[in-house]
């Protein structure tokens, strides 16, 4: 009765905080254990960014134009690497547990789904920032980037707000493997592919067909990229990017609760149909 008594006496918020820390710490342990794979992935992402950077060098006209285009492309590549990682980690919450065989233990523990998804979100943001810094360091050795006027503080502010909405977007996607153990994870790849297409990562959304352009308005990545590019390439202030910031704030307020609500519905469905088990 000792630990149960202690647990019952602990306030709920403290138990939830311990659980959030538990999920973040577990992901850190896993990254440590899969260190070589993490290195391989980081090298691959960096090479990919370099390749895209060299396209900018090859296509650009004079030195200034080339630097601007290269910087435009590299900002897109780095941000996509960061934001897609947040999205992927969140959306893999269920399939990863199922693959390891721990899903039943996690879902029968008394911590909330919010704690689980927030723990995953906290880790993915911290790890994503670390990866982006390493990639930026490697890339800056190869290219003369046009960052003379950059407003880094404004760019960081926009990135932080966008991270919240991306965590929520990831929560929405995380429900898919609960609904379908066999096909759910593949569906989340479609989410990622659509975001890549409509958000203007390597090009301005103006080049998309007319009917496709409005789709960018529902992607938090679109607003984040536009705001961060303006801050880094043209030194735009945070307040001047309000047109990009307010949609991100609204999405940040809507997506996480929506994701949690959908996740709860998915969990109830999985419990009714017997899908909440280690094998699909």
């Amino acid at each position: 009765m000792d630990v149960v008594s202690t647990q019952l006496q602990k306030p709920g918020w403290l138990r939830e905080l311990i659980a959030i820390w538990g999920y973040a710490q577990r992901n850190y342990y896993l990254s440590k254990r899969y260190f070589l794979w993490e290195v391989v992935w980081l090298v691959y992402s960096t090479m990919n960014a370099l390749t895209i950077g060299f396209i900018g060098v090859g296509v650009g006209g004079d030195a200034e134009e080339a630097a601007t285009l290269t910087t435009f492309l590299l900002i897109g590549t780095l941000l996509w690497s960061y934001l897609s990682m947040i999205f992927d980690l969140l959306s893999e919450t269920v399939s990863w547990e199922r693959w390891e065989g721990t899903i039943e233990y996690t879902f029968m523990a008394p911590s909330s789904r919010a704690a689980q998804l927030l723990g995953m979100g906290v880790y993915s943001v911290l790890y994503g920032i670390l990866r982006m810094i390493i990639m930026l360091g490697a890339i800056s050795l190869f290219f003369d980037m046009s960052l003379g006027n950059a407003n880094y503080l404004a760019a960081l502010g926009i990135l932080a707000i966008c991270s919240v909405s991306l965590v929520g977007f990831g929560m929405v996607a995380a429900v898919m493997p609960l609904l379908s153990p066999e096909k759910g994870q593949q569906v989340t790849s479609i989410f990622t592919a659509v975001l890549l297409l409509i958000s203007g990562i390597y090009y301005s959304v103006d080049v998309l067909p007319g009917w496709m352009q409005p789709l960018a308005n529902i992607s938090p990545v679109y607003y984040a990229l536009d705001g961060i590019r303006n801050a880094l390439l043209h030194g735009a202030s945070f307040s001047s990017q309000w047109h990009n910031v307010w949609p991100l704030i609204i999405m940040g307020a809507i997506f996480p609760p929506l994701g949690l609500w959908l996740f709860r519905l998915g969990e109830q469905y999985a419990k009714k149909t017997g899908l909440l088990k280690r094998t699909g």
């Binding site: 009765m1 000792d2 630990v3 149960v4 008594s5 202690t6 647990q7 019952l8 602990k10 403290l14 138990r15 939830e16 311990i18 659980a19 820390w21 538990g22 710490q25 577990r26 342990y29 896993l30 254990r33 899969y34 390891e100 065989g101 721990t102 039943e104 233990y105 996690t106 879902f107 029968m108 523990a109 008394p110 911590s111 909330s112 609904l179 379908s180 153990p181 066999e182 109830q268 419990k271 009714k272 149909t273 017997g274 899908l275 909440l276 088990k277 280690r278 094998t279 699909g280």
Partner: protein, 284 residues
């Protein structure tokens, strides 16, 4: 409902199941029953064993009590708390060890245990000395706590699974075939641990198994589950008297019309549970 320690302490039964029904969809319009009107209780400090062949509904029963599967009908009460209406409260009092140890294979036993404890609101400061004491009590060499789980034998992994459950001091322990597939020595070690849990940890235990001697040795009462129905429940001696047999194996044969070995490997007996759940997954 606000659950208090007093509320839990006052409950006379650790577990009460009333008329539990659970069916899974096989294909459009076709269902397979995993549990049919199952009712029984586990008193505080009691060990109740459920014997049954593969596919008889044992794992579904454990999943229903674990709050992982919602019953279609009936009530589940754990220390007098409704498990369907208040799953989070119930989850604090239960833990589980299943046939598969189920750990993050690349993580060490220490990392897995620390993580498992945190999900129950147990901090590092509280869990680390407790992990050390539990691992010592189960005879696990502390020098190996940093080794990845995949380097440990199945028997060792199962001991760590028991340690993970003990770490949260569950008042109701759910053991789903915890010794299946273990070598004889590991099996004896795990059975010894279960006896220790019963004696020293003041836990009530629901033990699902198809090992007759294990059930007879560890359980105060034994139920026989067949095709989702609880067809008998009594003390080992009571069952023998009821069926007029001298061994539990003979009781099982008389009650189910088959021996436990045949039942284990008879394909038609497996259908109701695992296959039906797998089909449910494919349908989704």
């Amino acid at each position: 409902m606000r659950v208090t320690i007093t509320h839990v302490q006052r409950a006379t039964n650790a577990l009460e199941l009333n008329d539990i029904e659970k069916k899974f969809r096989k294909k459009r319009g076709e269902y397979s029953y995993a549990l049919k009107g199952v009712s029984f209780n586990v008193r505080r400090g009691e060990v109740v064993g459920i014997l049954g062949p593969n596919g008889s509904g044992k794992s579904t029963l454990v999943r229903v009590v674990s709050t992982l599967t919602l019953p279609d009908a009936g009530t589940v009460r754990v220390f007098d708390v409704d498990a369907v209406a208040n799953p989070r409260e119930v989850q604090r009092y239960i833990n589980r060890v299943s046939v598969e140890a189920s750990f993050f294979k690349k993580l060490s036993s220490l990392e897995n245990l620390i993580f498992g404890a945190k999900l129950y609101g147990v901090s590092d400061r509280e869990s680390k000395p407790r992990i050390k004491a539990i691992l010592e009590s189960i005879g696990f060499d502390h020098k190996r706590v940093g080794e990845p789980m995949e380097h440990l034998s199945r028997g060792m992994q199962q001991k760590i699974a028991l340690a993970r459950a003990l770490l949260t001091s569950p008042m109701l322990m759910l053991l789903d075939e915890p010794t299946t597939g273990l070598d004889p020595r590991s099996k004896r070690d795990v059975q010894r641990l279960i006896r220790t849990i019963k004696k020293d940890h003041d836990s009530s235990i629901l033990l699902c198994t198809h090992d007759m001697s294990e059930a007879e040795e560890l359980c105060d009462r034994i139920g026989i589950l067949l095709n989702g129905e609880l067809i008998a429940l009594d003390t080992p001696e009571g069952l023998k008297r009821q069926y007029g047999k001298s061994s539990l194996e003979d009781v099982f044969m008389e009650a189910t019309g088959t021996s436990i070995d045949e039942a284990d490997f008879a394909p038609e007996e497996r259908m109701a549970e695992d296959e039906a759940e797998a089909l449910a997954g494919k349908v989704a």
